[in-house]
């Protein structure tokens, strides 16, 4: 309790809140612009924090981190281009809502869900960090592999109406993820002696191509007449949630928050996996699974809660054990180090007040994110009133600039164009591109943990049943697979009957 008060005293200073809000503002913008990522934002602005104190710099960085996690949903909903990889699942339901003229509602849902997820994880961090850290300690390499393998079963849920095509697309994505240097052997794979492919293809780069630019190519489908949305219509849109809607999102939000926290403590998995996971869970538990993909508020609430619930959770292994869960948090490690704080079990003993200030601060970061988001979404929503012929070239400009900025490399723009063409051709032949993204997200992790497990066990496969957590995940995978096969068989029978 004493630490709690000392922490609060450290936190409640005007500069802390100023930097927090500046971070939030930057985070939303970087998150919303396709190609500009949270990591990039943190990388670019980290040097600022070198002159700040520990709490100030952490408020600034957490502002970027949380708002970036939310910001990606804005472009996913409005222009069918996820601003960050973890908003890809949000796009599945967000964009259909925009087409139905309910973009304000979708944006509002995303903001509420993000805030809820963020606050939930901040509270977990504040009160249960030691317990969660203990749980994380129990998860080793084989457990990580099984979580990823479970993640791959989601492919079935995002395959559209054809599972076989989904599997092909997913395996293709997994294959692409192996391009570059192989962490386990040190050798290179499919780099064709090109140094630019040495570290593989960055997720953002493929994302821009797969979703944003391929959508631009698809503009060839029809001569675009002035499809201007009337701003008045936008203002008239009734963005109030009905009682029924409120009730329907309650369960997916709570479940997704828990999923987000669990995924968040596993290093390397990150928010994209969490959002796909909870999307899949929410659908299988929903009363209206048929609405998923056609504009389900439950879908949006699930993904957005989950990807923001990751934010607080990733801080748990970082602060308690010094393990950064994702790229952005790895950079925050630098911010701690320069202030003389070494993450690890002793951090809370030696720097208790600062730690409490940071943890309590995270709750306020989310509250201010909500307030800023409320103001900003009104502005962002106007995007859809821009006519297509103006919006399209502007999107391409943003995408090119974003793709370039990841590594300051024109080569990356070429890569996005290749992905755009691949996605365009795939969609022509009825292949969903979401499994490709899922494969790219999970590929490296799945393979690395699989091979590392076998190195650790000296090639013995029983390592995958060596702990209760392993067995739990393994059974989950088996149950899920049985359910998928079962529903496939049922579907094909139904089709057979219809044909006859």
């Amino acid at each position: 309790m004493d630490l709690f008060l000392q922490g609060s005293a450290l936190l409640f200073n005007v500069p802390n809140f100023l930097y927090m809000n500046l971070g939030l503002f930057l985070g939303v913008i970087f998150g919303a612009i396709p190609g500009l990522t949270v990591i990039l934002c943190i990388v670019l602005f980290l040097p600022f924090t070198y002159t700040l104190g520990a709490v100030e710099s952490f408020m600034f960085l957490l502002g970027i981190y949380c708002a970036g996690s939310y910001g990606g949903s804005i472009s996913a909903i409005l222009i069918k281009t996820p601003g960050t990889p973890h908003a890809a699942a949000t796009m599945l339901d967000g964009y259909p809502l925009t087409k139905q003229g309910k973009s304000m509602k979708a944006l509002k849902m995303a903001l509420i869900a993000s805030t809820f997820g963020g606050i939930f994880s901040a509270i977990v961090l504040l009160f249960f960090a030691p317990q969660v850290a203990k749980f994380a300690q129990m998860m080793g390499t084989p457990e990580y592999f099984l979580v990823c393998a479970f993640g791959l079963t989601i492919i079935a849920g995002v395959s559209g109406n054809n599972l076989i095509k989904g599997i092909i697309a997913g395996a293709f994505g997994l294959f692409i993820s192996t391009i570059g240097i192989d962490a386990m052997s040190g050798g290179t794979r499919f780099i064709f002696n090109n140094i630019n492919l040495y570290s593989g293809i960055a997720l953002v780069i493929s994302l821009i191509g797969l979703f944003a630019l391929s959508e631009v190519l698809a503009k060839s489908e029809k001569v675009v007449v002035d499809t201007k949305v009337n701003t008045e219509d936008l203002n008239k849109e009734n963005a109030k949630f009905t009682q029924e809607e409120k009730k329907s999102v309650r369960r997916p939000m709570i479940l997704s928050a828990i999923i987000g926290v669990i995924i968040g403590i596993i290093p390397g998995t990150g928010a994209s996996m969490a959002s796909f996971f909870s999307y899949d869970r929410a659908r299988s538990m929903s009363k209206h699974p048929e609405m998923f993909g056609k504009g389900s508020l439950e879908g949006i609430s699930a993904c957005e809660t989950a990807n923001n619930a990751v934010t607080g959770a990733t801080l748990i292994p970082l602060l308690t054990m010094g393990i950064p869960g994702d790229g952005s948090v790895a950079i925050m490690l630098g911010a701690l180090m320069i202030n003389g704080l070494t993450p690890g079990p002793n951090l809370f003993v030696e720097h208790g007040p600062i730690m409490y200030a940071i943890m309590i601060g995270l709750i306020f970061v989310n509250i201010f994110m909500f307030l800023q988001g409320k103001i900003l979404t009104k502005w962002f929503a106007k995007v859809i009133s821009v006519p297509v012929y103006l919006l399209t070239p502007i999107i391409v400009m943003f995408c090119f600039a974003g793709a370039f900025s990841v590594n300051s490399s024109l080569f990356d723009i070429k890569v996005t164009l290749v992905f755009a063409v691949i996605a365009y051709i795939m969609s022509k032949f009825g292949f969903s591109t979401i499994p490709v993204l899922l494969g790219l997200v999970l590929g490296t992790l799945t393979e690395e943990n699989f091979r590392r497990s076998l190195v650790l066990s000296d090639g013995k496969w029983d390592i995958f049943v060596s702990s209760p957590i392993c067995i739990a995940f393994l059974s989950l995978i088996i149950i899920t697979l049985v359910l998928i096969i079962n529903s496939q068989v049922k579907n094909s029978r139904k089709k057979g009957e219809n044909n006859e």
Partner: protein, 323 residues
């Protein structure tokens, strides 16, 4: 608010200066006038890492000691190799300088994937070594292994499992060389980052890990890991690593520190190199530079160009012997 505004203004000014300079190739300028424009020092590794922190802190003194502002930037990709490749576009006496180390010049050209490496050490002129970081081997505290004698006894009839950051990283080669000299069997397990490797030891998934001292600091302080040896010829004795015996004391010499060379483009005149070198050597002696070094647990170094060349050669030898 004032502070904030001034920071924003600074950043705008700095970035505009950066863009004015970034793309322009320097022309052959009179050596004593060098630098006539701001100098850019490129760190090819992650923002927030040791090299980046040192680069940015040192850049603050650029104006004072070189007469022009020094801009610290990062250019990432392929473990630094992309930036080193792109750097070849610079001409001699360019205002762009870059960091590099044994990873790029000794390891990358001698392991798989070397075909993609387009640069050689000879394409650069070493100016100075920014710092040396001594690697440390730690063990799970439950094993109660506190020096190489304990390790020898433990490994006599036991294959040791060692976690490293990347199978083709410095740590992996040092580990292989050490166990070879000790005659102990080892299984190397590669993790995606030193922090994860250390965490694996703490969990008991592996037995040992090699890392920088600063990376192992937290776990050693907390008592979950114990230091076994440092890869140096002098013992390390500080608040965290108390009286750790060096590998050198056991007659082992196949190790090396992690270094960060400041490099100029080949052909840069010796006077310019000397000018940068003396400026940076002076910067390294500044009080807050030294404080940063002790925080990051790295040592400043006054290596000559010859020392640096020897270091690169020495590491190449170790890599080739332990492929």
């Amino acid at each position: 608010m004032k502070k904030l505004f001034s920071i924003l203004m600074m950043s705008i000014i700095m970035s505009s200066a950066l863009f004015a300079n970034g793309t322009k190739e320097s022309t052959q300028s009179p050596v004593d006038a060098w630098p006539e424009e701001p100098v850019t020092v490129i760190c090819p590794w992650a923002v927030g890492g040791v090299a980046d922190l040192v680069n940015r802190k040192a850049a603050v003194y650029g104006q004072e000691l070189l007469g022009q502002p020094v801009l610290a930037t990062n250019e990432l990709g392929a473990g630094g190799n992309v930036a080193l490749t792109n750097f070849l576009k610079n001409e001699a006496n360019s205002y762009n300088l870059i960091f590099g180390g044994e990873g790029a010049f000794s390891i990358a050209p001698n392991v798989d994937g070397s075909e993609a490496i387009m640069f050689k050490y000879d394409d650069y002129v070493p100016v100075m070594n920014m710092y040396s970081a001594t690697f440390v081997m730690t063990a799970n505290a439950g094993l109660n292994i506190n020096n190489l004698d304990d390790l020898k006894a433990y490994g006599a009839n036991h294959t040791c499992v060692v976690a490293v950051n990347g199978i083709a990283g410095s740590e992996a080669f040092i580990a292989k060389a050490l166990f070879k000299e000790l005659g102990i069997d080892l299984t190397l397990v590669s993790y995606n980052g030193a922090n994860l490797a250390l965490a694996a030891v703490a969990k008991g998934e592996t037995e040992f890990a090699l890392s920088h001292q600063s990376q192992a600091k937290g776990a050693v302080e907390a008592g979950t890991l114990t230091p076994v040896t440092v890869f140096s010829d002098k013992p390390v004795n500080n608040d965290v690593f108390k009286d750790v015996k060096p590998a050198g004391e056991y007659g082992i010499d196949s190790y090396f520190p992690n270094t960060c060379f400041l490099l100029a483009r080949k052909g840069t005149s010796p006077e310019v190199v000397a000018k940068i070198r003396s400026a940076y050597l002076e910067i390294m002696q500044k009080e807050d530079m030294q404080k940063l070094f002790s925080q990051l647990m790295v040592e400043s170094s006054d290596w000559t160009a010859e020392d640096m060349n020897n270091h690169i050669e020495h590491v190449i030898q170790i890599v080739q012997n332990n492929k």
